[in-house]
Symmetry: C2
Subunit: 301 residues, 2 copies
């Protein structure tokens, strides 16, 4: 008997076996193809399952999702973007298994709450800052789902100072200002000639003024969004993972300064913003936690 | 045997008896004095209790509060502002009663969830827009408390376009832009010569250009803050009460426009923002719901 975890990323599927309710082992990864997406996903799950009877599968997916109907619709996956019934399909594959499904941000929060910086923290925000910005929230000891399973879309908090259009159709979302991709776009418009968030961080560390300005802009916007979320949720802990969050002081110093400037209510005086120590596969870890039955209704341990 | 509800407002105490788990009757109100605040509160509670045995008391208080320690510290009440142990004091008064305590915003959300616009809505935001801006949030069917009982501080979401200092010590909070008091202050700085939010609304309705601009500014900021909260919480319903929310189309038209402009994620397409129908004493109603044992852990009915 075995329990599986599946991470549906925008460009990669990862799956593994869940051990001891929280460790995911024997992980396999494949690129998401342009077509026959389900066939590739199905083969991956069967490979990881091997000859074992699968008793549960935890699925974390790039959003948006519709959890009540078990449908995922990842923006960057053309074949599935109008909606794919992932829960029903995985259930067909493993008819006797319990299938548990959540957005990647909720899985991130589950992972941090069970094995990361948010252990024992009943009110908190987990974020990922990479090419985009996502997250999950823990409210009164439980990962919040929201109406359709999309709670935690911290990337679409509106921040001051910018009217940049966002991919969501809105204007001034923190993702449109502070993600790795948005920061690179802004830096290039100022004359910088690199291509990735990692290059931008390197350039900032050797003192490139445009790169430094880009990271200051991103950090400030992140700190403002965090202050807004903290006031609304009454949290004292925020953990940030993802590639662009590895940019060091040029990002983190303005981030912490902006959070401190705006989060001034007395109950926020102890607000900590820390870097995630889960360096790899946080969504898969969270899907494992989900699969193991630490459902969102019972994540305190 | 009777159940009591107490509303600790910045300027008034209200108390009443709770009937049928949700109706508060025989309501008495007194002004909060400068000194001997507890003595006045105590006399009010005893008057409302009469000869009955009190089995439970629900207390809703202006914030900030510290729910885990049962302390209230209303900003605008000098004698209590550094912290008053309200739960212990009420418990002394009624030794065998169950004492339940929450911030006014959480009571507002409880009231709307039980008898108002949020009945049957498991993910939502309840706001009050009057001299200040407060609120409470419902997450996955329960009123969120947060770490110290202060969840729902929607008035301190940061909004774009303004760098007005806020009473909290921060900058650009929606309360500093869009409350009745902030709007009056802004209008007066532009040359308008009225004094209250109600006068400002009247002036706007007869076409005063400064009053119209003040309400457009307030409505836009409110719509932006609502969009940020909606993305984070995955809600489809926001209800707004409070005196300044009665300002009609000059406030509501820009409010709805800004919410629609910024809340563009697919799961937010059905977002409704409605005016509260609880015209009087929403905090007291919520304190009654709290007292009657529909605790925040079980508010679905």
């Amino acid at each position: 008997m075995t329990v599986l975890a599946l991470d549906i990323g925008a460009s990669k599927f990862s799956a593994g076996r869940v051990h001891a309710g929280r460790r995911v082992r024997e992980v396999r990864q494949v690129d998401v193809p342009r077509e026959s997406v389900w066939e590739v996903c199905r083969a991956l799950l069967l490979e990881v399952a091997g000859d074992e009877t699968v008793t549960a599968v935890g699925i974390g997916s790039a959003g948006p999702v519709d959890v009540p109907s078990g449908v995922t619709a990842p923006l960057n996956m053309p074949e599935w973007r109008s909606g794919f019934p992932i829960v029903a399909k995985v259930q067909e594959l493993f008819p006797t298994a319990a299938i548990r499904f959540a957005i990647d941000g909720a899985c991130l929060a589950l992972a941090e709450h069970h094995v990361g910086a948010l252990r024992g923290v009943p009110n908190a925000l987990a974020m990922t800052v990479s090419s985009g910005i996502g997250g999950g929230i823990i409210v009164d000891g439980k990962v919040a789902l929201g109406r359709t399973g999309n709670a935690g879309h911290v990337g679409h908090i509106v921040v001051p100072g910018w009217d940049t259009p966002c991919a969501c159709g809105g204007v001034g979302c923190v993702e449109a200002i502070a993600s790795g991709m948005s920061s690179v776009r802004w830096a290039r418009a100022q004359g910088w000639d690199g291509n990735t968030g990692a290059e931008l961080a390197k350039a900032a560390h050797i003192g490139d003024p445009i790169a430094l300005a880009a990271l200051e802009r991103a950090g400030t916007a992140l700190g403002q969004a965090i202050a807004s979320a903290a006031a609304l949720l009454d949290i004292d802990m925020v953990v940030i993972g993802g590639g662009f969050a590895q940019s060091g002081d040029p990002l983190w110093t303005p981030l912490r300064a902006a959070a401190a400037k705006h989060a001034r209510l007395e109950f926020l005086h102890g607000l900590r913003v820390v870097q995630s120590r889960i360096t790899n596969g946080a969504t898969l870890v969270g899907a494992g936690v989900l699969a193991a039955g630490h459902a969102t209704a019972d994540v305190m341990d």
